[in-house]
Symmetry: C5
Subunit: 251 residues, 5 copies
């Protein structure tokens, strides 16, 4: 079936509101009394006209009506883990493509930690998801992060390009990578990704000036946009910062 990529793009650009931090980092590290509530996020996504909002299955299920009403495209993250376990990173599939479809997903997300002792298992698990998503016409958005003891001390810029390339080779439609190094490095990563589209992760909350400068570079490097979370929903005025970012992404 033809992949319906346009559902999560607008004029070929993308801006996703990421909200899987509750599982990945825990409420203590990232949330406050407002943003701990998924409805707060759905509201930002709706008013900010994001091209997608990223939830784990549990939230997609329990807040299904609210998500539906918001009309924001839904990206269901299919794997996840807490940050408690201190060994080599492994994040397993917790939601099937079929379940995601039932939950109204427009795309599915998956994280792969390349370099981890469990890289092979995540690559293989993703390959099954990609197969099923392809049959359902759903795009795959893949978080690719070099991680684990094998990558300690390696050149982060090279790893960024390697992550991007891995996305192309394994068949991801969109990959989400961390921005490392300068704009030339990111350009090389985008080039390495070939026809696979690239979005950059927002990462930890940063100074607004710095953030907006980064967004410009991201766009100049050829990325289609961002998958951003904390920099928006930890912001005192999420819609204001959203507007500023969008102005850059959509020129």
């Amino acid at each position: 079936m033809r992949i319906r990529l346009n559902k999560i793009l607008r004029k070929g650009k993308a801006m996703y509101l990421a909200y899987d931090q509750g599982l990945e980092h825990g409420p203590e590290s990232d949330f406050n009394d407002k943003n701990v509530d998924p409805n707060y996020i759905i509201d930002i996504a709706k008013k900010g006209k994001y091209t997608g909002v990223v939830f784990q299955k549990g939230i997609a299920e329990k807040y299904r009506q609210e998500i539906k009403k918001s009309k924001v495209p839904l990206i269901v993250k299919l794997n996840g883990k807490t940050n408690l376990f201190k060994g080599e990173p492994i994040s397993r599939q917790l939601c099937t493509v079929k379940e995601a479809v039932k939950l109204g997903a427009d795309a599915v997300g998956y994280t792969i930690y390349i370099g981890s002792d469990y890289e092979d298992e995540m690559l293989q698990e993703f390959s099954k998801i990609d197969r099923e998503a392809g049959k359902a016409g759903l795009p795959t958005v893949v978080w690719i992060y070099p991680r684990g003891k094998s990558v300690k001390g390696k050149n982060k810029k090279e790893l960024m390009a390697y992550a991007a390339r891995t996305g192309l080779e394994i068949g991801a439609d969109i990959i989400k990578i961390r921005y490392e190094g300068g704009i030339a490095d990111l350009k090389w990563a985008v080039k390495s990704a070939g026809k696979t589209k690239v979005v950059v992760a927002g990462g930890v909350k940063k100074d607004e000036m710095e953030l907006l400068k980064q967004v410009k570079e991201i766009v100049q490097a050829g990325c289609i946009g961002l998958a951003i979370g904390r920099n928006v929903w930890q912001h005192k005025n999420p819609l204001e910062i959203t507007k500023k970012i969008k102005r850059i992404v959509w020129k």
Copy 2:
């Protein structure tokens, strides 16, 4: 299928009689000549009008007639382990959702040790159970306990909120957590759980005054109730303590 959550709630509140200690702790540590007998527990659950009684498959099977006659809603615990093995905690599925349905279950239970080396396997196994339970319309009650060498020395209040949030993210209908810290910490945990309901584990037998004080805090924090075992069936008068707790839970 619509989840029939009301079967294990009364006016939105819950009080479950937990009795999986035979497998989890062994008869020596928790049982006496009376409470070693499942019929003693069924009797308390019935007369105390509990909104659910928790059994492993074996007891649900062998005491099926007695449970049925008691009319207490049945929560079948789908995984379990002894406390003998000293390595990282792993508790695997020992009963299918289909078997639980045949045994007359109104809900299924599952334990996840987040932070364990095997967290990923339990999260994934639960995700399959959640899928099947959803199809059968059965609510999932998930025991979520931070455990294993990776969580040693971590802040217990933060872990409590993390456990609660994990329940929401993975799609649990009700989560059972241990009460750590004060009422403000528990409130934060309940908030982190969003639309997933929270019950608190009774834990080891404690002084009655202390227990009832805790129950009040649990209710004030926004939990729907308790899953209690030893504090009831190790009590010299289980129905008396039951009555006192119920008075607090149902105002």
Copy 3:
């Protein structure tokens, strides 16, 4: 389907002739020129009117005609291992319930080493067997032995009760445990097993007086009988000792 437990009981009592030592211990340690031959065992089982004889699939297959002719109920042991591997004990399923049915089995046996690093895998594998046996109406007889480095130095009497309780919790119809401690300890184990019936393992060959004293205690403790091997087929007169034991078991 209703479990046909009566096929392997006589007036509610049981005496099984165990013969899985060829795989579990090797011919050198337990066999002589006579008892190395399965036909010798079938003959004792027949003439001694045992309520069951325990074989691995291979013997059940190759000596099928002889077993059938003997009319002794057949208990096929579904898992097994040699005693050569020195690591944590793990015994995997080598025969399916379906195969056992084809071989004419009246019950299926399975060993679980609680406390082993692989406890979880055996508990889970048994749970599948129990499910399938239940559908076929076959009783499950479960050898439950605390074993492995985690149980080193633990109180054996408590472990005996824990083993018995585990049998009840996981749905075994009959459990086979080792007799540790005194008659009061065994009574507690039997009580812990609830509606799951208990047989005691004969263990290594012992003095006849001691054996018969033990049999008396076993019966007094509430066990339904024994699963005995070496004390019978290593005996110079297996039928004579059989008769003496039976006199105690069936009053």
Copy 4:
């Protein structure tokens, strides 16, 4: 289905030409310019009227016409490994029973290293093969070798009997063991194997006198014959040595 054992026996005796050394040992250690060619082996098997020739799936496939034309019964070895990996021995299934049937197999072979850390996995994998082979009416020929760090320093004669007994207990039709100790030890092993038939492995190339002496003992001990490889196809005149051995095996 009835096992067609006669296809790989002649008057109840057997002589198999083993040729899995290419995978198990590598060409360097065992082959020369002649015997590196599977056709050379097929030719010996044909002219020497062997009751079976043992190949891995790859050779059985690529030399199918030649094997068929030779009319030598085909035993397809279902598992295999190189000798490069230095850890605990594990040899996994590389060919299904169904594939073997398509390749025209008259029997299937499988190797189990008892005592290895992976003994449990090989025992279990064999149990599935045995099940499927049984349905297809194909005999199973099982190489059983005590191996791995757990068996270091153990009594080899006792291990030989243990290997033989294991074959009976797990349902092998024919087992192939190494000859250790004297004729009395081998007799005990054959007796331990009960109704399971025993063939002895030829092992490394040895002096002709010594080989023929061994063959005599093997026959006297009650084995049905040999599975021989290097002693034949490394011999300067394979058909001559074949003739000498056959004279002993078939009296």
Copy 5:
């Protein structure tokens, strides 16, 4: 189904353009601004009339139209890994035979690291692929490389022959090995491979004279050709070097 080997041969000879380095080595180590683009490779393969071009599923998918138009036979590599993980090599299946067929593959590729701690898993995974490819009539091209701590310090010429033989034993149609030692060693490897055809890996970029000398030896040793990547697409004039190599391969 009959294996359609001729689709990836011309007059019995082969020259494959390998391009899985993006995943296996990363863009940093092997690519420049030109050859990072799959279209550059497709163009070389087309104009150079290669008998096959090797891609991972992702590239085969995203550049499907371009590949189709080029009419170069497509070999889809079914497994892969990054070079980041520093432990024992394991490369798992990321694309099914069915997917490869849909992508228009004329053959499927798979890498096996013999000697690795995971050799058994790759041998077994390949055996399933071989089965499915056989049903679809697709040839299997197997990269066989001795790798891992167990092969450290071993004789590379012997390992080359062992790799070749392994290919035959497991049923590969074509194997790709590294050229080690001299022409006599390669001849022995080709002989060890029997009816399985051998191509040699081009390896790291080398001096043109040296490369062409090697190609001559490869052909003289009886190989059917090469699977070459870096020596072509890192060359300043890929079509010129292609022409020179082809002249040798096709006499």
